[in-house]
């Protein structure tokens, strides 16, 4: 029973989305690609210069510094976040734990705090002369320390904040994955005399492997897009530019120096990097099977 209304309906339903998508996604995407191949002129116009931006980027030491910094952050963060989330989930997944949903929400709740607010809190706790870190420092050494001006503390401080935001979030996924691991398999292994470690390696780990992999990818792609946390925590690029990230560098070129074409180039290079990381990940997860 196909009425005319039923034939027309999908077009009417999908068109508001399509129109909005065309104006606010497709067009800006095309324009941003266009920008990446052009150079600004002093009169506000643009000149076609297909390789200028890319050439500048390849020889731009600050871009590479920002890139390495962001990569390093991602690796440092994941190396801690994944085991901590898994550990927390394993602890919480024990059958004899009381008030499970309370603990689950308590650990997860920090994820609800936006990274801007976390950065504001961390700036005060770590950086203020009367903040938490200095309350402790004063108690221990009788001195005040400018924690936020120490270049070597930049990465640990950012990772710490990111962990506060991300460990409980990862735990939620790990918990869901753990609960989907076949319990009979566990019991069978236990009956066969497998030790808890063996059971973890041969039953639990293979069972949660897909989720673990997924979380690692999401975590790394998210880390590559890091911006607010370091930018607000350090009120800019931090001591020795250690708090600079790819998106922070894009923001600086686009909205502080106001050269949109170079900002667009950085954006597309970021997109390509993310595509490569995802492709490698897909490759690896296929060969796993």
């Amino acid at each position: 029973m196909i009425t005319p209304g039923r034939k027309l309906a999908p077009y009417i339903f999908v068109s508001p989305f399509i129109v909005m998508f065309a104006v606010f996604m497709a067009w800006p995407l095309a324009r941003s690609l266009w920008l990446a191949f052009h150079r600004p002129l002093p009169d506000g116009g643009y000149r076609f210069a297909p390789l200028d931006n890319l050439n500048f980027l390849i020889h731009d030491p600050l871009f590479w510094f920002a890139l390495l910094n962001t990569f390093f952050f991602g690796l440092f963060y994941l190396a801690l976040q994944v085991p901590l989330s898994l550990g927390l989930a394993l602890l919480l997944n024990r059958k004899d734990v009381k008030a499970k949903s309370f603990f689950r929400f308590a650990f997860f709740s920090t994820h609800l705090v936006g990274s801007v607010f976390v950065a504001v809190i961390a700036n005060i706790m770590l950086g203020n002369r009367a903040g938490f870190a200095n309350q402790i420092a004063h108690f221990v050494t009788n001195e005040q320390i400018a924690f936020l001006s120490k270049p070597n503390l930049v990465m640990p401080a950012i990772v710490l904040c990111a962990l506060w935001l991300g460990v409980g979030y990862g735990m939620i996924y790990m918990l869901a994955a753990l609960q989907s691991v076949d319990e009979q398999l566990h019991d069978a292994a236990a009956v066969d005399g497998a030790s808890p470690t063996q059971r973890f390696r041969h039953v639990t780990l293979p069972g949660i492997w897909p989720v673990l992999r997924f979380l690692t990818l999401i975590g790394f792609v998210g880390a590559l897009q890091l911006f607010e946390l370091p930018y607000i925590l350090y009120q800019g690029n931090g001591p020795g530019l250690r708090a600079i990230t790819i998106v922070g560098y894009l923001y600086a070129w686009g909205f502080e120096i106001n050269i949109l074409s170079y900002a667009a180039t950085i954006g597309w290079v970021l997109a390509i990097i993310i595509a490569i990381v995802s492709a490698i990940y897909l490759r690896l997860s296929r060969s796993d099977r």
Binding site: G114, V120, L250
Partner: protein, 281 residues
Amino acid sequence: MNAPRLNLTTRIVTHAILIALTIVVLFPIIWIIFASLKKQEDLFDSILMPRGGLSSLMLDNFRTLLTARPFFGWMLNSVFIASTQTILTVLLGTLGGFALAKYRFTCKPLIMGVMFATMLLPGQVLLPSSYELMRALGWIDSFFGIIVPGAVSVFGMFLFMQSIKNVPDELLDAARIDGASEFYIWWEIVMPTIRPMVGAYTLMSFLGAWNSFLWPQIVLQDERKYTLPIGLANMLGTSEYLTNYGVLMAGTLLAVLPVVALFFLLQREFISGLTSGALKG
């Protein structure tokens, strides 16, 4: 013989670890609650409770925040922007998702291909050109510049499409036989059936908009139009709060607690929605 006692010990140890970790994780929140209630002279001397005890806590910081700063306005702006943007995303996403999940029409494969290709791109690619577009539309320093572009979520439509696929066709056909219009079917049959997904997505989208910084920071310029993240980030940059950060902590608390409370009430719905997409996909 030993087993029950061993079990009891591990149980106690497990709970002790969990409680200790909860305290560590929630400590920053507890710290800012005290910081927001303390007098300036008490800030440095005590980590949590000032020496003077409960009686030396006060609400002055909150009063200053609401009178000396357009903080209340920022809060209203945040509520308005986050809720309108969320409502629009849900309406556009469920309508589009319904069309893609339950109808066959000519350009469907093309639409799906183009849209899902953009899902892989990081949003930052759009920043420079969207800024140009906002300037051209005259939407700089206007809420339109945040709400309207923010209402397009391919990810959201994808989630809705997936859950609408699970709505039985018989249900829709039965309604058609009863003479229901396609629009009526969307609103009265599809929407109630996928309510859990709508609920979870509404929360996710609201949270994202509430915490969003980068784009609003680019679009909004007038201090009275700020949202909470921009307002607070700017307060952090002002020197008057260097010495008395109690006001700033009060503001952060007010920006964070309502959302946490909302999610606490709706946590079951939210967490199941959050994980269902990942585990199925």
